[in-house]
Amino acid sequence: MYELFKDLGDWLVSGEQWTGPDGIGHRLAEHLQYSLLATLVAAAIALPVGLLIGHTGKGAFLAINLASFGRALPTVGLVVLVFLASGLSMWPVYVALVALAVPSIVTNTYAGMTAVDPDVKDAARGQGMRWHQVLFQVELPLALPLIMTGLRLALIQVVATATIAAYVSFGGLGRYVFDGLAQRDLVQVLGGAVLVALVAVVLDLGLSGLQRVLFRHRPA
């Protein structure tokens, strides 16, 4: 057991492991690229939906249930399904990751919008704000802490799941996991897993820190 951890430590810190096209630096960049792009696309879909159902109060039942359905889809199954339809490309990976990220963003955005004090919305209308001014000047800023929580959760889930890119022969930190499994190299498998976990934890801490700074004036 001790040997294993020692080898793992050596693997993580050795210089040649970090450089070159197979190096951790490059794989990390790929991993972050997949994750950020997938989360951005998911946000572009989920934010308008969440804001719209939150503002109008209509369609919430349908949207929330669709989101739960999306959450229940097995990611690997989705990858295989899209792979069969589209052939070898990044499409299966992005479709699966976006489908994974959308539900947290929709539900958190909707929750943030419904948590806005009705008196405040009433006052905003009463001061003469038009619907888009109520939405963008009052509801959205007030829902923002919860919206950001949704984005953060989605990103963490996506980072943890982006290893599947390697399953369909693309890069990212998942490469180490799948290559290690194929080569029966336990140290490499563990190394990849530890790196993914580290990235997720660092992003989570960084983003929650950012939220605390941004929303320091909000009542507790």
Partner: protein, 355 residues
């Protein structure tokens, strides 16, 4: 505080409001609100007073009938434009928690496109008007007390200097001491600004204090009576109104009558009880010649104090005499308990005849 130049600012003409669920909130309402006056809508919850208020700035649209503000039918106007031209204050203040106090007050000027600098300058001015420090402008609403938040709510409503102010139970959520302060402030502001104010409350004492006219509503959205406070107290239209005004309705009427016209006599000298005065002839306390008896406190009254305050003071005073003072607090004379009683009765009789 007298209703302004005789013009009507707000007119309700045969207004009905039925909600989609079938409840009638306002039933055949015709009501006029004079320019520069305070109209208080009062009644128990569910009587339609808030719906009535909210129809003025189109937060609710009537099912039928016409509402005119400044002579123009509200339904002919764009709802958002109309609301920007009317001040609106609600219970719990409804301040924007993510904006500073200053930016909250600047809301309507910004919506009207006055520019950030001008809007903030105006907001800073209003902070002072409503009795808040300049420093509080940089704070966030949740850092203020309930009473201060309500002041910010009033400042926000006044920011674009609208001729009409709608206030929906604005002081309902603050404690009684702060509420009295806020009522005093509103009366002081109104003396300066002469807005047409529509004020909703379920507190009849608040209505009597603030209103130039009071409209009493009954469940089902029926207007029962609309009259000046003294008319209402002297001649309630029916048992419902009388009950609503409460058992102390007679005393409430006395609270509206100032002492000004009640005659005074010279203060007693050399009797058992005498008023002790300071160098500026301000009454200090009642003192007695009999040794061993303590001094008794005196609460001198000015001409602007009410007959009710005089009645109270005459009961507390050892001689039954009320000390009267001028604006500087110097003694001008005394008024006896009998005199006060007689005028109290007269005040009732006059109110009955006048109405």
């Amino acid at each position: 505080m007298q209703p302004g130049k005789g013009h009507l600012m707000i007119q309700f003409d045969a207004v009905h409001k039925r909600f989609p669920n079938g409840t009638t909130a306002v039933h055949d309402l015709s009501l006029e609100m004079p320019e520069g006056g305070v109209t208080v809508l009062v009644g128990s919850s569910g009587c339609g007073k808030t719906t009535t208020l909210r129809m003025i700035n189109r937060m609710v649209d009537p099912t039928s009938g016409t509402i005119r503000v400044g002579g123009r039918d509200v339904l002919d106007q764009d709802a958002a434009d109309l609301r920007r031209s009317i001040g609106y204050v609600i219970q719990q203040s409804g301040l924007f928690p993510h904006r500073t106090v200053l930016d909250n007050i600047a809301t309507v000027p910004l919506l009207l496109g006055h520019g950030r600098r001008k809007a903030r300058a105006r907001a800073a001015e209003l902070l002072e008007t409503v009795g808040l420090t300049a420093e509080s402008g940089k704070r966030y609403p949740h850092q203020l007390s309930g009473g201060q938040q309500q002041r910010v709510g009033v400042a926000r409503a006044l920011a674009a200097d609208p001729p009409v102010l709608l206030m929906d139970e604005p002081f309902g959520a603050v404690d009684p001491v702060v509420r009295t302060q806020l009522q005093d402030e509103l009366l002081r502001l109104q003396k300066e600004l002469s807005k047409t104010i529509v004020f909703v409350t379920h507190d009849i004492d608040e209505a009597v204090r603030l209103g130039d006219q009071i409209a009493i509503f009954r469940t089902g959205g029926h207007l029962v009576q609309c009259a000046t406070p003294s008319e209402l107290l002297a001649r309630p239209a029916d048992d419902f109104v009388a009950d609503f005004l409460g058992a102390e309705r007679g005393l409430k009427l006395l609270s509206l009558t100032p002492l000004k016209d009640i005659p005074q006599a010279p203060a007693p000298e050399g009797g058992t009880w005498e008023l002790a005065l300071d160098a500026a002839r301000r009454p200090l306390h009642w003192r007695t010649k009999n040794t061993g008896e303590p001094e008794l406190p005196v609460r001198p009254l000015r001409d602007t104090d009410s007959l009710l305050a005089a009645l109270n003071e005459s009961i507390a005073s050892p001689t039954g005499l009320v000390a009267r003072v001028d604006a500087d607090g110097a003694l001008t004379g005394v008024t006896s308990r009998d005199e006060i009683h007689q005028h109290a009765g007269q005040a009732h009789a006059e109110a009955r005849v006048a109405s």
